[in-house]
Amino acid sequence: MSFLTYLINGISLGSIYAIIALGYTMVYGIARMLNFAHGDIIMVGAFAVFTAVSTLGMPPFIGLIAAIAICTALGLTIEFVAYRPLRGATSLAVLITAIGVSYLLQNLALLIFGSNTRQFTSIVTLPNLKLAGGKMTVSSVTIVTIVCCIVIMIALTSFINHTKTGQAMLAVSEDRGAATLMGINVNRTIAVTFAIGSALAAVAGALLCSMYPSLTPYTGSMPGIKAFTAAVFGGIGSIPGALIGGLILGVVENLSKAYISSQLSDAIVFSLLIIILLVRPTGILGKKIQEKV
């Protein structure tokens, strides 16, 4: 029974990684940049929910909507101020700028909220689920997280396949130059990608802190790195890849925490990443790009 509990918790953690990884993977696929600040947008989202619910006393659902709005606006602002002027610059320059943005967000949060750990109250108020005649308890957060992940995946896939903006995103990720020639507004498409990624980060932040209720200005950085790993794992740029990568990462992390060593779980996850990349250099579902001379 305990194995099943660990597995379900792993899937739930993996779902959060998958939601975060979507932000990484979409931005990478379309803008060809590693958005290192993505992890800190999760933290901002969690703080927004915390302020709305615990300080202002709003209902959790309204708090979540407010957090999504704040993060979307933040993502758009960052894209406009810091990343758009660097379009056409080397990818390393963009990477360092993203690191700068990440430091900026962390330190702003440190100034506003202080370095104390905050106790986050779960946004999910449903009762826990008892299975197998009360032998096994699955917390409601776990189930809500998994459901959220499935809904987001379906919504995002149909958005990309069935709307004009979604098709434009595909076109830009395929060939930016050709997309411009076809009359697609590349800047607008990239901005939409950032908006979606940041909105998802807000959801991920709320769910993450509902599961692990301690909140500090550095809360987002490690899950951010893990989700980035998950995105690379599944093949960066691929949406189903983000889901698969996130789930594998979450399950492996939780099982190794339970059965091997809680201190070594990160090392095990990262070793798995290295092994996968050595066998499949572009991740599980990554496209192999033929090099042209």
Binding site: Y28, L34, A82, P85, L86, R87, G88, A89, T90, S91, L92, A93, L95, I96, T97, I99, G100, V101, Y103, L104, Q106, N107, L108, L110, L111, I225, F228, T229, V232, I236, S261, Q263, L264, D266, A267, F270, S271, L273, I274, L277, L278, P281, T282, G283, E291, V293
Partner: protein, 354 residues
């Protein structure tokens, strides 16, 4: 002609380091330096070594590595471990420190080679994430490692100090997350400067040698380099392992400048790797002198901003973003070009008149 120019350039770089040393020593002797600044002299040395060595990978070889702190960690721990083990065998602290430097660098270089063989096949961002993962693995493993020594030899454990089962008089050397404590602080400013100069000699000589030109050819166009007969794997590995070994040297220096050496996410995590990368990128990719200057300035800057305690990291991050925008944004580059052109034009007629 070209050769002479290269030699001049190297000489200026060495002179800069020596001048820095003389000024700093002069200030110490006349007592014009605060103890805070004095404490920063050794860190400036190891950060400069780290920046120069990472520049070899990122700027000269053109591969993005986010795991430089991992190699530094290997150097720091193996060096400090050696110094502690041989406490009775080799009484001279100086000799032990020297041997520790050799061993730490060699081990880090060996790891660089071993990791480089499979990993350097990956490209760009994939290489970046794998090196990041490697750095985190090293940090994690050291955090659970317990090593003790008694008359029977070494004892290893991944649990705690009691499970080492040491005999009477045995000593625990690596205490898991607490790391290594009580290493003699043999790293002085003079040693740091000497190591920095050695690093510069190695890196600059490599860059201006035949091998260095091959490495830069691979960076500029791998396929073209391969087609004229350059052994890509060999030269990539050469640059990567030398870079790793020098990071190990910096690590030994680091380990011997602190009384407590622990692998926290702040000291050897990806944050450290990223910080060194920031030095390299701000100093200019492939520009060794730039790495030296930016490492020195950025090490001192947060301390200088200590007056603004709460705001210093905020200012630091803003400066970083603005510098990148100013340095790399296509519009800013165009604007700078225009400005230079205008100044040149303004000067020219003035010359014709005379």
């Amino acid at each position: 002609m070209e050769k002479k120019k290269e030699r001049m350039r190297c000489a200026v770089t060495y002179a800069m380091v020596i001048l820095f040393y003389i000024i700093a020593e002069g200030l110490i002797m006349t007592g014009h330096i605060s103890s805070l600044m004095k404490g920063l002299l050794v860190p400036v040395c190891y950060y400069a070594i780290l920046a120069v060595s990472l520049n070899l990978t990122v700027g000269i070889l053109g591969e993005l590595s986010l795991g430089h702190a991992g190699f530094m960690c290997i150097g720091a721990f193996s060096g400090a471990f050696f110094t502690q083990c041989t406490e009775n065998a080799i009484p001279s602290v100086g000799l032990r420190f020297f041997l520790a430097l050799v061993i730490g660098s060699a081990l880090a270089g060996l790891f660089g080679l071993l990791i480089g063989i499979p990993v350097l096949r990956l490209k760009g961002d994939y290489l970046a994430i794998v090196t990041l993962a490697f750095g985190e693995i090293i940090k994690n493993l050291i955090n659970v490692l317990y090593v003790g020594m008694d008359s029977a030899g070494f004892h290893f454990s991944t649990k705690d100090t009691t499970s080492l089962k040491l005999a009477e008089g045995g000593k625990v050397i690596i205490k898991g997350a607490q790391g290594i404590t009580g290493t003699p602080r043999a790293a002085t400013f003079t040693v740091g400067i000497i190591l920095l100069l050695i690093t510069l000699v190695i890196v600059l000589n490599l860059i201006y040698s035949r091998a260095g030109r091959a490495i830069m050819a691979i960076r500029d166009n791998r396929i073209a380099a391969e087609s004229i007969g350059i052994d890509v794997t060999k030269f990539k590995l050469l640059a990567f392992s030398i870079s790793a070994a020098l990071a190990g040297t910096a690590g030994v220096l680091y380990g011997h400048s602190l009384s407590t050496l622990a692998a926290t996410s702040k000291t050897f995590g990806y944050n450290m790797s990223i910080m060194i990368l920031v030095y390299v990128v701000l100093g200019g990719l492939g520009n060794i002198r730039g790495s030296l200057i930016s490492a020195a300035i950025l090490t001192v800057l947060p301390e200088l901003l200590r007056g603004f305690e709460d705001y210093r990291m905020l200012i630091y991050s803003l400066v970083l973003i603005l510098l990148m925008l100013f340095n790399s944004s296509p519009k800013a580059v165009e604007f700078r070009g225009m400005l230079i052109e205008r100044i040149r034009r303004a000067k020219k007629p003035a010359k014709e008149e005379t």
